[in-house]
Subunit: 121 residues, 2 copies
């Protein structure tokens, strides 16, 4: 039988900042819970959009031509190939929707890059 997932409660699995956990799937897209604080790194995902939905707190996403502020309950799709850098002044809980193959640091591999296996754990 099917069991629903409580979105906010799913964030209990997330222990570390910038370390998304897979909490659901629809077709070829994964739903990931992430807790963010500070800034990530400038990057892009070629061929893959990435949706940010703010579950708690707020998030600024810097783009090369300006910044967008997301409040709790807002979502924004960062289109494929667009360079961006998420910046959270305070702890922010984000639901990400992106293809199974997306690395959250995109074309940049850093100490914060997490493999899909790590995201499933």
């Amino acid at each position: 039988m099917f069991s629903p997932t409580a979105l906010a409660a799913a964030f209990d699995r997330v222990q570390d900042y910038w370390s998304p956990k897979v909490i659901g799937q629809v077709n070829d897209q994964l739903l990931k819970a992430a807790k963010l604080k500070g800034e990530l790194v400038w990057h892009a995902h070629d061929g893959q959009d990435e949706l940010f939905y703010i579950v708690k707190g707020s998030l600024r996403i810097d783009f090369e031509d300006g910044a967008v502020d997301l409040k709790e309950g807002d979502f924004l799709t960062v289109p494929s190939g667009v360079r961006h850098n998420p910046v959270a002044a305070d702890e922010c809980w984000v639901l990400l929707i992106e293809p199974a193959s997306t690395l959250h640091t995109g074309d940049e591999v850093t100490s914060r890059t997490r493999s899909l296996a790590e995201q499933m754990s």
Copy 2:
């Protein structure tokens, strides 16, 4: 420049029950806002999962082997090909995530079936 969408405010566009409106997209999946009340119809979507996220209220989804109750903040992916029937005792606001090609009544075409053009309007 990019503009965020406030999820709850996006439901202002939805005037009628069982008449989803497209409010966003990520890769090949559409995000749709729908207000539900009463029951839809038994149907399945072959080859297409459909995700339900409860923005306001609660929803029961009947399956052939039982029912699942979704509360506000819960989500559930109905897998491809699984027959289901959403039933809302009271008004319920649902975010749907499904492929651009999905009809919300699946393999059943009823008076409640809405074309993609109608969902974009």
